[in-house]
Amino acid sequence: MGADHRAFLDATIPHLDVVWQVARHAAGKGQDPEDLVQETFLRAYAGFGSYRGGNTRAWLAAICLNAARSQARRRRRRPWEVPGPALLDALPWYRADGAEGAADVADVVIADLEAEKVSRCLALLPEPQRVCIVLVDVAGYTAREAAEALGCPRGTVLARVHRGRRRLAQLLAEAGVSHGQP
């Protein structure tokens, strides 16, 4: 008999919502986030017998990201959706350093943002930054939890989040999503 599934569900179901946030952005094109959530919990259940405790949220996030990568490998494609050409065409050339020549996004207020455009701009970020932003800003993980899930130092997570946020804000400004004055 495997692990006690009631104990497993008691320990993990309260974290379903944060796993859902991660799955929505980790699921590749053509991959249903709900299927990914189910796969995450089934994998977690399979490993629950050897699970030694710790941060359950971080544990589930790591499983979810691994499951997304596994499925993407099976599909021979990257786990993160590549933005469509329409958005790329709409974006002016983006200066990576974000300094000279870039719009001063600090002078605009992000208002009435369309979530879809934000999501597609997020998809433009390098995967390490994207994953950290999804964990910390979207799913609400602490930097320490994200670091545990990703197996990297907390400082690395903080740096990736910071760089990712800046690039995301710049991309949105370039795409004309941000508007208005403070």
Binding site: M1, W20, D104, S119, V134, G155, R165, R166, L172
Partner: protein
């Protein structure tokens, strides 16, 4: 990343102590580059937080159902040995939560072992996708099946609850529960054919159809553009008629 950038990262993350944070507040008044970085960080965070979206209703029940099914050995993805015939009330609860069938009279004794053949033993070699459907349908009260006959032919099917999607045996399956008068049936639809169990029989005049009996549960599968599997506690002879009433295939 130099030490200045590290401090900036710590500042925007709120990780500096009070004295350090105060020094950075003063620094930001004079340094346009850092001030831009701080404001971009805040704008990016605000945008990312817009992407939060509550989990779909029913997802927790779907996950609980999948785990409970796996715990009983019902999927091929995670094969587990199981002790025989363990009553499992979570499956019953989950199924009725999923189907939204709280109006069904309580107290109906249902033993939710996975798949029981007449002898009370788990079906050996039952395909995972078929086992998942059978397990889901197992919670239909026997009374419904016993009373269905007089009314099945007349009543219009009424869907109970909302559809549930599960993945078993590599198949994505959408499960719907229907009520016809006093009877209830589960209709499972998949893009891939439901594998024919070892004890199933091909249905005459339907080369792509098969039927099977699992304890009190009858199964009727018809393969067309999609594969549709009806599971209900009705006599085998009435399965085809029931499927027709549900407009299967």
């Amino acid at each position: 990343m130099d030490s200045h950038d590290r401090l900036l990262t710590a500042y925007v993350a709120g990780k500096l102590d009070r004295a350090q944070a105060r020094r950075w507040d003063e620094h930001l008044l004079e340094c346009e580059r850092c001030w831009r970085a701080v404001r971009e960080d805040r704008a990016g965070r605000q945008a990312a937080q817009m992407l939060r979206q509550p989990a779909p209703p029913g997802l927790a029940d779907r996950v609980a159902f999948a785990v409970e099914m796996t715990a009983s050995g019902g999927t091929t993805a995670l094969r587990r040995s199981r002790s025989p015939a363990q009553p499992d009330h979570l499956g019953r609860r989950a199924r009725w939560l999923l189907a939204g069938a709280g109006m069904v009279a309580a107290g109906v004794a249902i033993t939710l072992t996975l798949i029981l053949l007449p002898g009370g033993h788990q079906a050996a070699g039952l395909p995972a996708a078929v086992a998942a459907v059978a397990r889901y349908a197992q919670a239909i009260p026997s009374q419904a099946g016993d009373q269905h006959s007089p009314s099945v032919g007349r009543a219009a099917p009424v869907e109970v609850g909302r559809p549930v999607t599960v993945t078993a045996g590599g198949q994505r399956i959408v499960l719907r529960t229907w009520r016809l008068g006093g009877a209830e049936a589960v209709v499972a639809v998949s893009d891939h054919p439901f594998p024919m169990p070892g004890r199933a029989q091909r249905v005459s005049n339907g080369g792509m159809a098969w039927s099977a009996r699992l304890g009190r549960l009858g199964l009727y599968c018809l393969n067309g553009r999609t594969s549709e599997l009806v599971a209900a506690p009705v006599p085998a002879a009435e399965l085809a008629a029931l499927a027709a009433r549900l407009q299967v295939a």
